[in-house]
Symmetry: C2
Amino acid sequence: MSFRFYLFLFLLFFSSTTTALWPIPASWSKGDEVLRVYSTLSFRYSDNIVSSSAELHKIIHSATQRLLQFMKEEKYTPPNKLIPIPERNAKTVERMYVEIESDDVELGPDTDESYELIIPVEDQPITCHLKAKTVYGLLHGLTTFSLLLYSPPSSADLVLPDAPHHITDRPRFHHRGLLLDTSRNFYPETDILRTLDVMSWNKMNVFHWHIVDQHSWPVKSEVFPELSEKGAYDPNDMVYSKREIETIVEYARMRGIRVIPEFDMPGHTYPISLSHPEIMTCLDQQPNWNWYAAEPPSGQLNPILPKTYDFVRQLITELSSWFPDKFWHTGGDEVNTHCWESTDSIREYLSSNPGTSISMVLQTFLNVEYDAVRGSGKTPITWEEILLNQRMGLAEDVVIQVWTSSDRVKQVVDMNYRVIVGPADYWYLDCGHGAWVGDWVNGNSWCDPFKTWQKMYSYNPVQGLSGEEIKYILGGEVLLWSEQADTTNFESLLWPRSSAAAEILWSGATDEHGNPRSVQTALPRLHDMRFRMVGRGIRAEPLQPLWCARTGRCNLPPSMQ
Amino acid sequence: MSFRFYLFLFLLFFSSTTTALWPIPASWSKGDEVLRVYSTLSFRYSDNIVSSSAELHKIIHSATQRLLQFMKEEKYTPPNKLIPIPERNAKTVERMYVEIESDDVELGPDTDESYELIIPVEDQPITCHLKAKTVYGLLHGLTTFSLLLYSPPSSADLVLPDAPHHITDRPRFHHRGLLLDTSRNFYPETDILRTLDVMSWNKMNVFHWHIVDQHSWPVKSEVFPELSEKGAYDPNDMVYSKREIETIVEYARMRGIRVIPEFDMPGHTYPISLSHPEIMTCLDQQPNWNWYAAEPPSGQLNPILPKTYDFVRQLITELSSWFPDKFWHTGGDEVNTHCWESTDSIREYLSSNPGTSISMVLQTFLNVEYDAVRGSGKTPITWEEILLNQRMGLAEDVVIQVWTSSDRVKQVVDMNYRVIVGPADYWYLDCGHGAWVGDWVNGNSWCDPFKTWQKMYSYNPVQGLSGEEIKYILGGEVLLWSEQADTTNFESLLWPRSSAAAEILWSGATDEHGNPRSVQTALPRLHDMRFRMVGRGIRAEPLQPLWCARTGRCNLPPSMQ
């Protein structure tokens, strides 16, 4: 018996699972006919599309071109299925009829992303039918269509098995994000563009760009050019200019992805000190940096100086105009009160203003920061500590992002705030890679162990919540912090594990029977998605030996369950 | 103050550390002159080289061409130093005089790899002097020379700071290896060739090719072509032919690297069953595979059948001729006695031969296997269990490789066997990446946590040994098992962590004062080596944020030490 024979037996047994989709659609009925598809697929559009704006046409054209490109170039054969070769007289898919209800092209937190894809078998040639409420639903439908196509070995044609298909699909959560930290180490524009591509294949729709932090300031502000001239790792080669940021935002929008930038304040701001030391406190305290910050180098904005506020207002006003999204991440994590308590000017301020406190000073800072954000027409997001640890008063519009533990989601919901979940115990992509502090021989990752795809897949963003509470969960994010990541290794850290979370966010953590999704039934589909991503040139890491991917025979033995 | 200014201050302070070398030479004196080097460097050879064999010329030519190529293409500026621009009238290095004592080109476990590199400053133009006992020492000297060269920003010339140099260098251990498992997932030839390049830059000299295992058989035997036709992941595209293996062996030899293949027996042999089921036992037992093997699929050679022995002898005879090295790894790990005890033919054999036992049967198998190895002129290596767990009788020539724990090294030494160390608690590169068994939601890596470079660097292969005992340690290996690695991610798992072990193996675990090497003084040099590898196109992962690499200010605070 060869591997192939095994595979054949295996596939005979599970033959109904030929076509895989990741993330799995809300509703999907299929048949057993094998269609042929040519890369000359043509598109017909509903009248309201034809008569709509150039903007809408641009988004649709960009997406159909990507699909046709895949159909021309992608030669994908999955590891765990025998793709049937269509019969001589097999029907062919030659057209797709595309229809939308609204020609509104605004992309926001409430955009309707649902779609319906019908691939009939009655006619010859076949016209598929793709319907959506908005153009962004259409994009997901086209992605789904691309995932239904396979190349049988030694055949030039594409096949579309399991027809007819009727897919009705919509996301479980509006916010399906990926955070990339571009401050601790820098990523060139191409890395970000490629990441946006992969996100779109996984139906993720928020790029949370943790663009600055305490290690470098790669943003080329035009109002404060000195920030990146002195604070970027390289003021020419390791910066994002306004033009590059606009390119990234537009590239994302063409894929239905919102870009939410994070300008973390008042902590995690050390690089500002390289050009504006006068508005900073407790700069690069050594050797006991841990008294002043979570990581070296320490440094926070000085919250008692009018010029700090001028700076914050001007910066947010300028940069908010580069990012059209309605959300704005204000940071707010790991504010170190000892840093401020040890600063002379702040101590003097507190003693000459009886009744004031560090806490009140922080509240003032946040009020100014959030007002600037709202003044730019945006909704502030903050990390959880501002609410739960610093216990600041926050207006009800503020969105809270929970990271320290999945346990804290309910605390925030109980306070009636909207939540984005991305807990370190499930969805941190950097955990398990050891300590990065230079001389720590026995140091381990603070959030050990490594989060496997299975662990990530087992997280339910609404776990422990009921009824009305669930509505506070906007969605979630996977997070890659870059202390130990850069262009050399980040892609394998992101994929395919982020795909696991992407399915939870799109399809929900429970299946059609209300049971938690099973890693066992997910695995063959995730292998399929991983190999497809690899085929598209992505360094998605292997989940198992190829033998296991092919046979599915590498599960826990009963005695270990 | 900008980062650059910081850097400048930092470098002023530590200016004596401008030139970095990894691994650090045994003896190195240097000065403070900055030389200019042109990529037209010419070589002069001692008379015995000139009159020596074509073989010797080939090795030297190959190495000098690589050096000249780097000098032409590499534009390397380290993250943590300002490279001085040579003065207008700086002296230039124009020639290298190369000398060897012996023109013997055999590469083996006792090859002398020492070299001496002298870069004087007296003459103009300057002739460097490279001397070695053998051509393989020369290769290391040329590698060292390449690591002394830097490109200052915005200068076309190379500079060689800190001249004059006088380096006298030799390896602490003869065996400095890297194991790559090409069975669980496949690696194309180019991945292996590139890995050999990086090994040579790190002065590693043994590629332990764990070429087959229980998941696939990628070796295209000409005597048993059915092995890879049925047992390879792909009989055409995922195999190593004789020609490819010879290419790899030759490529390695040109870089002073021995290739030791491992044909693991009698366990870890499942793919043989796909063409020779008649000589196998307990094949792919499910679902309780763990009763029969360490990993699915189970399967061991049947040790009571004459045809098994015929197969083993023929296979070793054929394949040993493809690998010229004097060592041959026989495997021998994780032999599962329950597998054999549950096999009918073995049970019958034992009951019809009173006085026999599983243990005696294993001993017979090993005798046959080792005799075949010795008959091919090679020395058998085995994993430790054969000696320590199975307690087999082994001749004194057998080399024992210890993997389960660093604690077991001394046990083997106490039994007077030579040892290769590569313990999972220090030098396993795959640890800390979670469990790969499909449906294990809370499973972690069995050898958690991740082994950081600091941890790897803290291992002393002769720890706890004294005097005569130390001589039993041939050296060590870092190991990458490929359940969760393949071409997409392996390079970041290998580098720069393997460099940490490479320095321990080349330079020894203690410094010139007999103290354990310090991760603190190693870190800036390892950053330098890592960025140089990245500059040479290798996906060596970042150890820290670039800010830390530049400033060296990310160490443990005193309160955490």
